[in-house]
């Protein structure tokens, strides 16, 4: 409470005791300087700003649970005879990797829980990175000066997927071995050098006895170290740039409004770590994931129906399923388009497009300003529509990756499904693009109308001549401001293709392309109202049947029953 009296920390007993060590540290490290800048640093608050935190905390959960698992896991492909607690596999020859995974699951108390926490957290890690990335994309938060942080994010997503795949392969069960077999086929399809990469990676012919130790090294050392480094850079840049915020009264491009790091933000973020950890632990308590014992040890002549990768590889898997069987021979070499294009090209194209997008957009819009205010998705209809189109294509690939499960569960013909997805992969994104753009522009028009003509009150009036009309009341000024707090559209001009002397300009073709793209980007987008429009509308609203100011500030529309509500 504001009236409470607090003893300053340095005057409390604890504070006096701590002063010595803290002073000792600061004498040597000078941390007070950094702490002074950051302890009360402001973070704006919105639920969508916490999505990245889910990824951060699930990574911490992965580090903790993964460390536990390494205490027992044996990354060896050497053969052993299983003699653990799981009866149906007793006496079977299997690798140490698989046997030790079974031991963790059945003979180490809490081992199964930790395995399941680790796997759920991994699935959640990649999922939350994607959700976070979508939030950043659709609100334009990647714009200057945050392009580098966007690139770091793309890098983290790539590493997260590779890390997940490496982990999925380690237990050496039938499912993970089938996944490795697929990767082997994928590597072989790399033009010209495929067999070399295969032999070097596997240490000889598939499966060899080296791939699991090598993946293990990558999984517990190399990739986590890279991820950790990139996360550190990601967070440092976040602190340096300060978080973006939604526009609103008092929230401008030049300030950041929110809660200080200490205590509110630290408590909320710290509390969220416990929530994420607790949530994954509860998941692991009640939902089974990757029951390796049910699959049996890897054997290259066995397979199970419903062989799938983890969900984040589903897109790639789906594209491989959709691809027609194209393969050609020239220069005395075999070119496996059927595997290389969807397997290597699909994710390659996705990540390239993601990495380049901020720069492409900047080239089109020629917008060199710093942006700290977020854009509502509807206010950038082309970007939003492109994003939704991309999500649709990704979704088709995803669904195709589970086409056998869809076929059995919905009693459909799997070949017909494949054809639907083959065509849909090209058609659905276009449809999604057109619809999304239309919806965005429609929403912009509605905002425009609400600002200029007020909102519909639900109050019906009868005029003396017998006509009925609905009263509109102006929005509170704060809401009006929020709706109009965005940047004006630039003037669209045709590109100058000739200079003042009538000679074709050297960069003419590039400029022309840009002009066309600019037109495409801004086509149909509604600018916010001008000052004149607002003045005119205010007068009009004032004139109109002598209202609406009489309704009063407290009026908040009418309920379904027709009773006026107040704010």
């Amino acid at each position: 409470m504001a009236t409470d009296t607090y003893t300053d920390i340095q005057d409390t007993k604890v504070g006096q005791k701590a002063a010595g060590p803290v002073g000792w540290i600061d004498d040597r490290l000078g941390v007070a300087g950094i702490a002074r800048k950051n302890m009360r640093k402001i973070f704006p608050e919105h639920w969508s700003f916490m999505l990245g935190e889910i990824a951060l905390w699930s990574f911490v959960v992965l580090l903790i649970s993964g460390t536990f698992l390494t205490l027992w896991f044996q990354p060896s492909m050497g053969e052993t005879i299983y003699d653990g607690s799981y009866e149906p596999l007793k006496g079977i020859e299997m690798s140490y990797a698989y046997a030790s995974t079974l031991d963790i699951s059945f003979d180490i108390r809490g081992g199964l829980l930790m395995r399941q926490i680790h796997h759920w957290a991994a699935a959640l890690f990649v999922a939350s990175m994607i959700v976070h990335m979508l939030r950043v994309f659709f609100t334009g938060a990647y714009r200057k000066p945050r392009e580098v942080n966007w690139l770091i994010g793309v890098g983290l997503l790539v590493l997260g997927m590779v890390e997940g795949f490496a982990g999925y392969s380690l237990p050496d069960d039938l499912l993970s071995g089938t996944g490795l077999r697929f990767v082997d086929g994928l590597i072989r399809s790399i033009p010209l050098v495929g067999s070399y990469v295969e032999f070097f990676l596997f240490g000889g012919e598939f499966p060899g006895d080296l791939i699991i130790p090598r993946l293990y090294m990558a999984h517990i050392l190399l990739i986590p170290a890279l991820i950790l480094g990139l996360i550190a850079a990601h967070m440092l840049l976040l602190v340096y740039h300060k978080h973006t915020q939604w526009p609103g009264p008092g929230r401008t491009n030049e300030n950041v409004v929110g809660y200080p790091m200490l205590p509110v933000y630290a408590a909320k973020a710290g509390g969220f770590f416990f929530v994420v950890f607790g949530f994954t632990a509860l998941f692991a308590a009640i939902i089974q994931i990757n029951p390796v014992w049910a699959y049996g040890p890897y054997n290259p002549s066995e397979v199970t129906a419903g062989s799938q990768p983890d969900w984040y590889m589903g897109f790639s898997e789906g594209l491989v399923r959709l691809m027609p069987g194209w393969e050609s021979t020239f220069f005395n070499h075999t070119w496996s388009w059927n595997v290389a294009i969807p397997g290597l090209g699909g994710l390659g194209l996705l990540f390239t497009a993601l990495a380049l997008w901020p720069f492409i957009e900047r080239w089109i819009t020629q917008d060199d300003r710093e942006h700290h205010l977020l854009e509502r998705p509807r206010d950038a209809p082309t970007r939003t529509a492109l994003g939704v189109a991309g999500m649709t294509a990704y979704g088709v690939g995803w669904a195709a990756g589970g086409n056998d499960i869809i076929a059995t569960h919905f009693h459909m013909d799997i070949f017909m499904l494949t054809w639907i997805f083959r065509i849909g992969f090209f058609v659905f994104p276009v449809v999604a693009f057109l619809i999304t753009r239309r919806i965005c522009i429609g929403l912009q028009h509605r905002d425009h109308d609400t600002v200029l003509h007020g909102y519909e009150t639900g109050v019906i009036e009868r005029s003396p001549s017998g006509g009925y009309s609905e009263r509109h009341a102006p929005l509170p000024v704060a809401d009006q401001y929020t709706l109009t707090a965005r940047q004006r559209l630039p003037e669209l001009e045709a590109a100058e293709t000739v200079d003042s002397n009538g000679v074709a300009a050297p960069a003419g073709r590039k400029d022309k392309l840009r002009a066309r793209l600019r037109h495409f980007y801004y086509q149909g987008v509604l600018d916010k109202p001008t000052v004149e429009e607002v003045h005119h509308a205010e007068e009009h609203l004032g004139d109109f049947q002598g209202h609406p100011n009489q309704i009063g500030d407290d009026f908040g529309g009418v309920s379904d029953a027709g009773v006026p509500k107040s704010h």
Partner: protein, 357 residues
């Protein structure tokens, strides 16, 4: 506040609606009602209390519940450990957040931003320092040092790359499998040899070459361990029996079967999944990984899906005891395609005196 208003007024010119500035702070119930605040305090500490009890419960569950005990058909141990551990974490998290939401001050505060770029002064100073460094090092005046150093450092890439050479052997032997003339085709797992009479029309046998199983009087097979896995990943086969009338073999393959018994590689030519989803009435073989579909009555041709090459067929014969044997190794390369496949196939065809596949 005053700074904020100043900033608001800068943008005001072009804005159709002027920035009304931050709204006045509205207080929470816990700010104005101490009784409510006390209730919240008790609520939060109750959560922490339960969390502590659950953590104790974890230890109790760890030492008292056996893995085999079940709860709702799940492992009771896993459930109890997860529920206590997860519950404890979750309650601590919710408690802390509730504390932040209800008790901690929630006045919104304003901080000014600064452009991401450094000041012009800094930029100039850095450039000056950089130039001074370059000048003092004389790197521009003495290109010999510069260029030879660049060359030497560049050459360091060589040990870096060469060191990786022993990651694995050079690609070899992709064209051959362990099959050879006279090797029996035996049932997988049991290792039993097969006679044609053992097979009915519509039968499928998941089979392997006999070398994967111990010969009579031996304890261990010729091939074992990971060598066995590598060999299996190319040599696994399926033997199927169809009505001879249903089969339309290529001229070359007319004698590769025995009364409608044909043998195909089990390894998909797409990315190598083992396939045995054989429909005995349609003769179609479906790969469960990517749905490539092969027609076993028609030379293993691809009829759907991403595979390109037909499934290689193994020529069959009978040995003196009437058991099914291979008449040679595969004449077409098995397993997924690789860049040198075309070249290796040509070589293989020459070895087998086969005119263009």
């Amino acid at each position: 506040m005053s700074e904020l208003e100043k900033h608001g007024s800068d943008a005001q010119v072009a804005e159709p609606i002027a920035d009304p500035g931050l709204p006045e702070h509205a207080y929470r119930v816990t700010d104005v009602d101490e009784a409510q605040a006390r209730r919240t305090e008790r609520q939060i500490s109750l959560m922490f209390g339960i969390a502590a009890v659950l953590a104790l419960g974890f230890a109790v569950a760890y030492f008292t519940i056996d893995f085999d005990e079940t709860f709702l058909g799940w492992s009771a141990q896993n459930f109890a450990l997860g529920a206590t551990f997860g519950g404890s974490l979750l309650l601590i998290g919710i408690g802390i957040i509730q504390w932040a939401k209800k008790i901690m001050q929630d006045h919104e505060m304003v901080e000014l931003r600064h452009p991401a770029k450094s000041s012009d002064d800094d930029r100039t100073a850095v450039l000056a320092d950089l130039n001074a460094g370059i000048k003092e090092s004389q790197i521009g005046r003495r290109p010999l040092i510069r260029n030879s150093l660049l060359g030497a450092v560049g050459m360091l890439a060589i040990p870096g790359v060469v060191l990786l050479r022993d990651l694995g052997p050079l690609p070899h032997g992709q064209a051959h499998t362990v099959w050879k003339k006279g090797m029996r085709v035996v049932n997988d797992i049991s290792g039993l040899p097969i006679r044609p009479a053992d097979l009915e029309v519509g039968q499928l046998v998941n089979a392997e070459p006999a070398v994967f199983f111990p010969a009579e009087g031996e304890d261990e097979a010729e091939i074992h361990g990971h060598e066995l896995l590598a060999a299996k990943s190319k040599a696994a086969v399926i033997v199927v029996r169809m009505r001879p009338d249903d089969i339309t073999p290529d001229a070359e393959k007319a004698n590769w079967g025995i009364d409608g018994i044909l043998c195909y590689s089990k390894i998909c030519t797409h990315v190598g999944c083992p396939i045995s989803l054989w429909e005995q009435q349609t003769h179609h073989l479906l790969c469960p990984c990517h749905q490539s579909t092969f027609d076993l009555a028609d030379n293993g041709k691809v009829i759907f899906g991403p595979a390109h090459r037909p499934l290689p067929q193994l020529p069959l014969g009978l040995d003196s005891e009437g058991y099914i044997i291979a008449m040679s190794d595969f004449l077409d390369i098995v397993a997924p395609s690789y860049p040198e496949l075309a070249r290796d196939q040509k070589k293989l065809d020459e070895e087998n005196n086969r005119g263009g596949a």
